[in-house]
Amino acid sequence: MNTCMIGRGLPRIDAVPKVTGEAQYTVDLKMPGLLIGKILRSPHPHARIKSIDIAAAAQLKGVRAVITAKDVPDNLFSFYQWLADKNILCGEKVRYVGDEVAAVAAVDEATAEQALALIDVVYEPLPAVFDIEEAMRPGAPLVHDDKESNATWSVQRLFGDPDKALAECDYVVEGTYVTHAVSHTCLEVSNCVAKWDEKDRLTVWTNAQAPHTQRQEVARILGIPRRNVRVINSYMGGGFGSKLVMDMKVPIAAVLSRITGRPVRIVNTRSEEFATGKTRYPYTMYLKTGAMKDGRIVVRDLKLIGDAGAYHDKGPATINFSSMMFGTLYDVPNIRFEGQLVYTNKEMGTAFRGFGNPQVTFATESQLDELAVKMGIDPLDLRLRNSNCSMGTTSCGAEICGCGMTDCMLAAAEGIEWERKRTRKDENALRGVGLANMVHTGGGGRFYGFNSAEAFIKLSDEGTVTLITSALDMGQGAHTAMAQIAAEELGVSLSDINVLSNDTDLTPYDLGSWGSRAIFMDGNAVLAAAQDAKSALVEAAAEMLEANAGDILIEDGKIWVRGSAEKHDLAEIVEHTVNEHGSPISGTGRFVDKLPEGYTIATAFAKNIPCFSFGTQAVEVEVDPETGQVRVLKVVAAHETGTTINQTMAEGQIEGAVAQGIGFALMERLVHEDGRVLNDRFLDYKIPNIGDMPEIEAICVESEGTRGPFGAKGIGEPGLVPTAPAIANAVFDAIGVRFHELPITRDKVLEALKEKGK
């Protein structure tokens, strides 16, 4: 493909404002009359609220409003509304340490904090459940009294005949794998500003990954019409899923603003962010894999229990998605999946980069290595033998179009020097290499029903292009990618494109940035809009230059007739058609991604995914047998991009995801005691710093067949999915110890080595 723009590592269009400090994030916005809101949160994991006395708080000088449950709508909320289970403010009882009980708005932060301290809440502590075993015991205290048990939502999937396959296959491996709660730790904490105007419209400034969805959620919980809600994003200091579902601070700020008649800002402290913010769902997984002598994996049986925390949020959606990825990898003909969500009295989970897939892949790819050991074959060979087909449909219905899986494996293996390092003896006895595969969506999913995107382009009379897109840039570079796509199609340079976004009053309805969908969905819409604008431009040029439309060429902002030496600026053409004919030039693009005929969201399963993305990571580690420290020396991450839109940005996504994967595998862990998070600071919740990083080789593997713009698919999440099992597999290669639980911390390594030595 002959392109000028696609694939090049062009600098981001928003890099300069960020590097000069000009870029305004929501937390930087200034507004006249702004009040500071603060939330009073439950100190108990489970308790009945007996009484709340706000009198002293309300009378404090500088306090403008104090609210409790009786001052807010009684509506319940969850991401799936039919599973709604959370109020804006707790009325009867609190269900986790951090549950919102009351809120104040005051003239400054110190006053707001003082006011919180003056609110007198009398609690009656209740027995609580902190893990899934406790929660599922018969007679366990119920987190939600209107439910029969803490085991709330569940799903089962069945393809083929797993029992028969398990009985008839040549090798079976089974095991239990456990992953844990980790925090997104965006550098910008969760925050918002809410303000009503004189027409009773609410504007919310917040860092929402899905502004249009957030608008619906806010309207729903407040019980107001959607047309009265506007969500405005600013530059966004990270998301990773934490800002996908509405946070209660938004309706709380809205109510405070309503009462005071002034804009109200609420910002999490970092401690609040760690201790009460939403987490990745901890999964406990019981997994069986069965294979034939020839290496074919013929059956996989997974029973998964997800710890929801105190409320549903994205729990069901996460488990659903986990099941689709589980079913698709390696096209195993017999699949059983059972997913169970369980309430506990802890902070709730939510979407987190990978969306259940990193957890499940830790189990499946660890077990695959265990299978390889049992079968006496090389783990790379076993995986190569089971590579997903290049085209076609898997047994669970996943439609694979464009699959570079084998290329990814070979690239990763070569990069880590698999052959040499797996067979080296003693030269470095405590080093090991391991690898892991993954599949993920490269284009979001159809499972929320509507899955489309729209974009608008208009040309000004001096030739600049305005692109209006709903693609949400939380740092991953979506706006730059959209601009590149538009620039490529129109034949202009990147600096000619001005991207407008971030305002639900302006942008078309869209589901937002999650599931690595922006490039595929929004990108296709932008491409269509650019094609539409281009054809109008070509027509205008043909008329002005008295040529056939088919002979009009556009490149680098210049238009000319094929064979002619006279090149015109875009601006000339646009000016001419506007002034002579009164015809402004613009384009509309729409990309509608429908479920295949005959399927519904419920029955489609993996057919909900428009585009799959495969990848492989190979890792080399070194273990210090005296301290148990696992040091990652090198990661080779080979991931599909279909067509790479921006090489630098794609690498950046992979590298950042690998860093999070290393944190997930080795370093990060929220430590609870009686439901309370103990490590609510960066000091004690360690994320990788610059000195912790290994050498990372990020390889973008291109392949044909994807229906994304110029053949591209999403790369936002895949980089995080296989890192943990690749590390676990490398650790096994290094010291012969298999870890079934994350994180693999030093003391666990030492203990395991001691056991092994016995």
């Binding site: 005296e626 420290q629 490590n679 710093n689 000195g691 003391d747």
Partner: protein, 276 residues
């Protein structure tokens, strides 16, 4: 000013411990007295006899980067470079690190191992306290009301001596999980240990010396077997707690490992000298 006041008054040096504790609510002093502009407290200098005097308000950055310290007491400069980040070290002071008196105070082990003394003043008179006796408990020092730490006095390095600080998992902002510092003086040209101090951080209510371990080593020729025994002894002397960061058992293991590494490094250094 510190003595006479209506409520608790805290001296403020770099603020990298004190301000954090105030923000977290664990300390609520009535007033802060800034020591930064008090003249004569922020120096780092070598004496004619080769000893090092560090003003209480000297920053860790000053200590880390001082050419004098790097030349004459490299282990101290290196230990300073292990604390926090560049930003923290620009402001954090030696005195602050010691007076905050966390069991994990990063500067304590190496200074104790070097035989340092705390120079304490009440504005009129001065008194010296061996640094290992300066710590009374977590967050508590030997300072009486109205007294300030004025400086740390480090005696000149003995002939043929080796010193180094070993900190577990040197990652920035790491509140030391375990720290071991050694200062060993050898009989010139031999492996015989003339004198040794082995100081442990973060494994007791205060930084401590592993005295039983030291006794085992003095007067003996340092070798692998002795190193192993002395390291086990050091681990036995440690009384670590189990907390969020590590278990007591794991900390004891680390004491043994780091003591072994420290003594092995001393051994390697002495071997070069003995061979020469």
């Amino acid at each position: 000013m510190l003595a006479g006041s209506e409520g608790p008054v805290k001296a403020l040096a770099g603020g990298t411990d004190l301000l954090v504790q105030m923000k977290l609510g664990s300390l609520q002093p009535h007033a802060l007295v800034s020591l930064r502009d008090v003249p004569g407290l922020d120096f780092v200098r070598l004496d004619e006899d080769g000893g090092l005097v560090i003003g209480a308000v000297a920053t860790l950055a000053a200590l880390e980067n001082s050419p004098d310290v790097k030349a004459a007491f490299p282990a101290i400069a290196e230990a300073a470079s292990y604390v926090g980040s560049v930003q923290v070290r620009s402001r954090a002071t030696v005195g602050g690190n010691l007076c905050n008196a966390a069991p994990s105070a990063d500067m304590a082990p190496i200074l104790i191992a070097c035989g340092a003394a705390a120079v304490i003043t009440d504005g009129r008179a001065e008194r010296n306290v061996p640094l290992e006796d300066f710590f009374a408990g977590p967050g508590e020092t030997a300072l009486e009301p109205g007294e300030l730490l004025k400086a740390i006095a480090v005696p000149p390095s003995p002939e043929a001596s080796f010193g180094k600080y070993f900190k577990s998992f040197r990652s920035a902002m790491d509140c030391c999980t375990v720290g071991v510092a050694v200062c060993a003086a050898f009989a010139p040209g031999s492996m015989i240990v003339r004198d040794v101090r082995l100081a442990l951080g973060a494994v007791a209510p205060t930084p401590i010396r592993a005295r039983a371990s030291e006794k085992m080593l003095i007067g003996r020729a340092l070798d692998g077997t002795l190193i192993a025994r002395a390291s086990v002894a050091a681990a036995d002397e440690a009384q670590p707690i189990t907390d969020l960061r590590a278990s007591a058992e794991y900390r004891k293991i680390l004491v043994e490992v780091l003591s072994r590494r420290a003594l092995t490094a001393a051994h390697a250094w002495a071997q070069k000298g003995a061979a020469a």
